[in-house]
């Protein structure tokens, strides 16, 4: 009889079979190597990139200024294409944030150890991406200074917002998303800010990290509550991964426009969100792990896992495309059919085929284990997927609008320089925020890496102590 003996190491303990940490480092070494970049004065590359980012952010400021001064008329939007770049960028940015929440919350609940080294990056990315996303609907209001009309408050107008409209749902979804992500991020950061305080080399750094860590002293009583609280926030963030982009997709699905009015949108949007988010995490992580010298905790195995997620979500997205086109055909509705035909062969067809190439063809590279860990291939592929996902959002927003029911009301859409500057400007703003994050915030959860190292040590010790004589399989 083969009963499970708890005293015998299980074959293939994932902690020892697939090492997530390269080499054995002491807690002191981890504290130093993972925080080295934060404590080091900024190098020339960092300043150069920051200058570039700030220049781009200045362009963003100009574009926002023009939008506020002239109005939404400064954009290329027209009738019937009333949404265009603004909503495309909103959906794209908010989707990117979802990888952060998935990595930090869902993978935490599943006890996937590999999340530990990359979650801080991904969460920071979420925060900045959601901030960029929030800008677009706000500007799109036309009178952004009246945004608070969307929030229910007892006003002298004696009117309430219309809660049967998905636009009010957006406010609740995006606001909740940003707040919960921020709390989750900061709570996870507290112990590491304390480590940064205690390894700081200048009194000034010690003061600021001391203030930011709120007085964390690693007390067991605190750790106990902290861990429960962190898991709870993870549990609360988990449904947000699914709900936020679902609600964003309702903006479309609730409308009656052909090409939008479809039930596949919520899952299709969520899969696309995770897909694009992982692509951006890879785009940023690959150069950052080298620059920060943290290749011992962000190993090829991490990259390999992320590439697998890209492959899987890539297929989900492909399935979404298939369903979209199938249902248009199956509905026997000439308007639906026309919208899908126009995507494949109409004026936006080059974009459609670009989307198919980037989002469906490129991820197929990751069937190969060698390509999954080839950083150059991975980086280029991730970049292409970012482009592909933006193209997808653009096609979803613009192509059905520009060709709806009545041919007499069709019109093409051309973005203006303000549209392009807003898109490019938010990318630059995002990059700037990310650079500051790398410089100021411990980029890898130091305490989690140490905890993982302790678990690995325990696994190895256990294995050594119970090493069977050769050939002694039960």
């Amino acid at each position: 009889m083969n009963t499970a003996d708890p005293q015998v190491p299980a074959p293939g303990d994932p902690l020892t079979e697939h090492p997530l940490l390269v080499g054995r480092h002491s807690d002191l070494e981890y504290s130093e190597s993972l925080l080295a970049y934060v404590h080091r004065p900024a190098g020339r590359t960092w300043w150069g990139l920051l200058g570039l980012g700030l220049a781009g952010t200045a362009v963003l400021a100009v574009a926002v200024g023009v939008t506020l001064f002239v109005g939404v008329g400064a954009w290329g939007n027209n009738i019937p294409v009333g949404w265009a770049f603004g909503i495309t960028n909103f959906v794209w940015w908010i989707g990117i944030g979802h990888a952060g929440t998935l990595i930090s919350a869902i993978l935490l609940l599943f006890q996937e150890k590999w999340r530990g080294s990359i979650n801080r990056f991904a969460e920071a990315m979420t925060l900045f991406a959601v901030t960029c996303a929030g800008l677009f609907p706000l500007l799109h209001l036309g009178r952004p200074w009246k945004f608070y009309w969307l929030v229910p408050y007892p006003s002298s107008l004696r009117a309430w917002p219309q809660f049967r409209s998905p636009l009010t749902w957006d406010i609740a979804a995006v606001g909740t998303y940003l707040t919960v992500s921020l709390l989750f991020w900061f709570l996870g950061l507290l112990p590491d800010l304390a480590t940064a305080r205690d390894t700081a080399r200048t009194p000034r750094a010690r003061f600021w990290y001391g203030l930011a860590s709120l007085g964390w002293r690693g007390s067991a009583r605190h750790w106990r509550q902290w861990r429960t609280g962190y898991l709870l926030l993870a549990g609360l963030a988990t449904p947000l991964v699914v709900s936020v982009h679902t609600i964003v997709s309702f903006d479309f699905a609730v409308a009656q426009l052909p090409g939008w009015h479809t039930t596949v949108f919520p899952p299709y949007f969520v899969a696309g969100a995770v897909f694009s988010g992982f692509a951006l995490v890879l785009t940023l992580l690959i150069p950052a792990r080298k620059a920060l010298g943290i290749e011992h905790v962000v190993t090829p195995l991490h990259l390999d896992n992320m590439a697998k997620v890209l492959l899987a979500t890539g297929w989900m997205v492909a399935y979404g495309y298939l369903q979209e086109h199938f249902f248009a055909w199956f509905s026997a509705n000439p308007y639906e059919q026309h919208v899908m035909e126009a995507q494949v062969s109409g004026p936006y067809a080059p974009l459609f085929w670009l989307q198919m190439f980037c989002n469906v063809a490129v991820p197929q590279l990751f069937w190969s284990a060698r390509l999954r860990t080839n950083v150059a291939v991975l980086w280029v592929a991730a970049l292409l997927i970012n482009v592909g996902m933006w193209t997808e959002r653009f096609l979803i927003v613009v192509s059905p609008l520009s060709m709806d029911f009545l041919p007499s009301s069709w019109a093409a859409y051309r973005p203006t320089w303000v549209d392009w500057s807003l898109l490019g400007g938010t990318v630059a703003f995002f990059g700037t925020a990310f650079l500051l994050f790398l410089k100021w915030v411990p980029p890898v959860p130091v305490s989690e890496v140490k905890e993982l190292q302790r678990e690995v040590d325990a696994s190895l010790r256990f294995q050594r102590e119970h090493e069977r004589p050769t050939g002694g399989a039960p």
């Binding site: 049967r164 909740t176 709390l183 860590s213 709120l214 007390s219 509550q225």
Partner: protein, 176 residues
């Protein structure tokens, strides 16, 4: 009589856990551990109870969700009814997204707020920070702390040394 903290640093988490158990057996009440990462065994050694946070979060979540639902119903069906193409003024599915989001939001805010209250944060001037070497508590040192009255401090100090602490320090409340 001011409160004193006796702090002892141990080289490993195992040594710390053994020391905590021993101190507890010797009858010291106000024990704590300070570690760079959560060490499950210290929770047991200190006899910490289960956290009540999940219940609080559940309550706050349900409360927030209930408030959101009632607010939407009151706004659109009672106080400012707006007929949109003859659709029902109170329609359950249309109210669900905001109900859900607000439930999550209030639960998350409650968890974070409760943690800050439980920790007593922000509190950047706790007496333990007066010990310069206590910096290692977030790096690679495993510290035990015992809060006692001044006259008991030497006794605890001796006990910690006996248990193999690398270094022992005493700080007093309000010494600065």
């Amino acid at each position: 009589m001011s409160r004193h903290w006796v702090l002892g640093e141990f080289a490993s988490s195992d040594a710390l856990v053994a020391a905590l158990k021993d101190l507890r057996a010797k009858g010291f009440e106000q024990l704590d551990a300070h570690t760079p990462f959560p060490v499950e065994e210290t929770f047991e050694a200190l006899g910490l109870k289960r956290s009540k946070l999940p219940l609080l979060a559940l309550g706050a979540g349900l409360g927030g969700a209930g408030f959101a639902y009632v607010a939407q119903w009151f706004a659109n069906a009672v106080d400012y009814p707006l007929d949109v193409g003859g659709r029902p003024l109170h329609s359950v599915p249309m109210n669900l997204p905001i109900t859900f989001e607000l439930g999550v939001l209030s639960a998350a805010l409650t968890v974070f707020g409760a943690l800050m209250v439980l920790f007593g944060f922000p509190h950047v001037t706790h007496p333990v920070f007066d010990v310069e070497s206590f910096r290692s508590a977030s790096v690679d040192g495993f510290w035990a702390s015992v809060a006692v009255d001044a006259e008991d401090a030497p006794k605890v100090e001796a006990a910690l040394r006996e248990l193999g602490a690398r270094q022992v320090s005493v700080v007093a409340e309000g010494a600065r």
